[in-house]
């Protein structure tokens, strides 16, 4: 229904909504999690604030489980008068967001324990995950704009969490400026879309856009992609990424490199297929060019980095480029979306693993410079194992998850008739070899820095939450690669509903 401005419509919609509430379980879990977290923050004493982290992580996991339950029990459909689409894509992304969000909370907990406003941080993080889920599910321009704004504001706050640190303040302000400006561009584009169709429903907008004049379509779509591209750190809109990751707490950088990015990419895929069906105005080629640019710029810029967080930031830009290959192939190939979903899962696992190692190193050695990784193998063998696994997987070495994912993306790209993009991606993979190995080799080969020669080798990984994250991500990175078959079948089922 395009609009709902009469009493009869409101009544019938209300009745239908009550029946459709079951599809909203995952959203409900995160909403409840966020609100109760705020309430608990006010009630619990300081040394118990960690419980809120447990509660928030529980809400995330529950949301993931409920997403699976909804898929198995209820199936997929567009609900709430097509403002929200609960389909394979959004449910798998919800599950992914739930699990990765919980892992990020575990990663953040040791650094935050005992700080001021710890509980509020977990509440903000839960709300950010809720916004990410909303963004993935949105099929209505109003909800889309609101979700982008909400996801932005919660991540600005998390970036600025270290209030005494100039770097953190600066990072959050830069992030804020880029975020609000690109959001304004996107909302302006959405207002034009509304003018064409007389509704904010994206599918109905798509029906109108097909017959609209080219110049208008290109201009308005470019405006909308501005906002989503910034969320996913695509290349013309990527300037904020290294600064924001560098200034933010490492756990927040991990969060931002996975959740908003994947949500933004999924939303991009949904918006493009809903609003521009059938390759209107040749968007697939435009996105493919964007993908090539993104991966190239990210990889080349990463070569010069000595700060591992900045290096991972540029690496994550490059990874967005690979992921974007999936979006570009959606229209031309059936495998595009499946490859995107699979690579999203693999990327979440390996990138969180990499950031977990960085968090652990920063915690112990107070630095994230490449030199801080020297001789990691001698002192912390388990960290090094995870580091090597996740970096090699980001690089795309068989038999790890990243390899299978990239292979799928290449296949989809070629299938969609964009072989040149696959070639660009292969070249890029070769470039990225340099900087990934640049971190791995001192960690494995070198001796530790002279400052701490006598540190004994320790096989015990502390603190426990980081150990859990390290273990889970490492296992996932390997398992997703070795047992790719069932996961790929799952990804193939994660299709999009067209309203």
């Amino acid at each position: 229904m395009p609009n709902g401005g009469t009493l009869e419509q409101a009544k019938s919609i209300e009745e239908m909504m009550l029946r459709e509430l079951a599809w909203l379980w995952p959203i409900g879990a995160l909403t409840l999690g966020a609100i109760v977290a705020v309430l608990l923050t006010m009630v619990l004493p300081r040394h118990r604030q960690g419980l809120i982290g447990a509660w928030a992580a529980g809400a995330h996991v529950t949301a993931a489980v409920l997403a699976v339950a909804v898929w198995l029990d209820r199936g997929v459909r567009a609900i709430m008068e097509q403002t929200v689409i609960v389909d394979g894509l959004s449910l798998t992304m919800t599950a992914l967001i739930g699990i990765s969000g919980a892992l990020c909370i575990a990663l953040a907990r040791p650094a935050l324990a005992g700080t001021e406003r710890e509980g509020e941080f977990y509440a903000m993080l839960t709300f950010a995950s809720l916004s990410a889920v909303m963004l993935v599910m949105a099929a209505d321009a109003a909800l889309l704009g609101l979700a982008i704004g909400a996801l932005g504001l919660s991540t600005f706050v998390m970036t600025g969490y270290l209030r005494r640190s100039t770097r953190s303040n600066e990072a959050s302000i830069k992030y804020y400026i880029f975020g609000t400006v690109s959001g304004a561009f996107m909302l302006y584009g959405l207002s034009w879309w509304f003018g064409l169709a007389g509704t904010t429903n994206l599918r109905l907008i798509g029906e109108q856009l097909q017959s609209a004049p080219q110049g208008y379509v290109i201009a308005s779509t470019a405006l909308v992609i501005f906002g989503l591209g910034y969320k996913a750190a695509l290349v013309p809109f990527h300037f904020w990424t290294p600064d924001a990751y560098d200034g933010a707490p490492v756990s927040v950088a991990a969060y931002m490199s996975v959740l908003p990015k994947l949500a933004g990419l999924a939303a991009l895929a949904r918006v493009l297929t809903l609003a521009l069906p059938e390759d209107t105005a040749g968007w697939a080629t435009a996105i493919a060019v964007l993908a090539a640019l993104t991966m190239t710029v990210g990889n080349v810029a990463a070569l010069a980095q000595r700060n591992v967080v900045r290096l991972l930031a540029y690496s994550s830009i490059a990874q967005s480029g690979y992921l974007l290959m999936g979006v570009a192939a959606i229209n031309g190939s059936d495998q595009g979306l499946a490859a995107l979903v699979y690579y999203a899962m693999a990327y979440a696992a390996m990138n969180l693993g990499a950031f977990a190692v960085v968090a652990a190193v920063q915690r112990e050695r107070r630095s994230v410079d490449i030199d801080a990784f020297k001789g990691l193998g001698r002192t912390h063998p388990w960290w090094t194992v995870v580091l090597v696994l996740s970096f090699l997987s980001l690089l795309g070495l068989p038999p790890l998850a990243g390899f299978v994912g990239k292979l799928e993306l290449f296949k989809a790209s070629i299938d969609a008739g964009q072989s040149w993009l696959a070639v660009v991606a292969v070249v890029n993979t070769v470039i990225s070899l340099y900087y990934y190995l640049r971190v791995i080799s001192p960690a494995v080969l070198d001796a530790p820095a002279e400052a701490e020669p006598g540190v004994p080798r320790t096989w015990v990984v502390r603190p426990t939450p980081i150990a859990v994250v390290l273990g889970l991500t490492a296992v996932a990175t390997v398992a997703f690669g070795l047992a790719a078959e069932p996961l790929l079948r799952l990804a193939e089922k994660a299709t999009m509903l067209s309203g």
Partner: protein, 102 residues
């Protein structure tokens, strides 16, 4: 006479003014003002469409409400960030921020 293109051109100019502020100002709060103008331009677009193309499109009116919400919410978070930064470094100037390489 007033017509849809007039409204849209006015909105486009307003958006450009906001963009001018965003690009040209050195102070975070001034940049926020530019963003407010840009969002205001988007609202003006929608209201123009409501008047001249889609008088029954309540979803557009609702979209304007969401835009107003976003304006308020983004301003609130922006102020909080400025306070946080100002308390520490006594400045809200973007040009003074060069701790990170950019």
């Amino acid at each position: 006479m007033i017509s849809l293109p007039v409204v849209l051109v006015a909105a486009g100019l307003m958006f450009a003014i906001g963009l001018y502020g965003v690009l040209g100002q050195t102070n975070t709060i001034m940049v926020m003002m530019g963003v407010e103008l840009m969002l205001g331009a988007a609202m003006l677009n929608v209201v123009g469409f409501l008047r001249y193309s889609w008088p029954d499109a309540t979803s557009g009116a609702f979209f304007v409400l969401i835009l107003m919400t976003l304006m308020a919410v983004e301003a609130a978070v922006g102020f909080a960030l400025v306070i946080s930064a100002f308390r520490h470094s006594r400045t809200a100037e973007i040009d003074d921020m060069h701790e990170l390489k950019g």
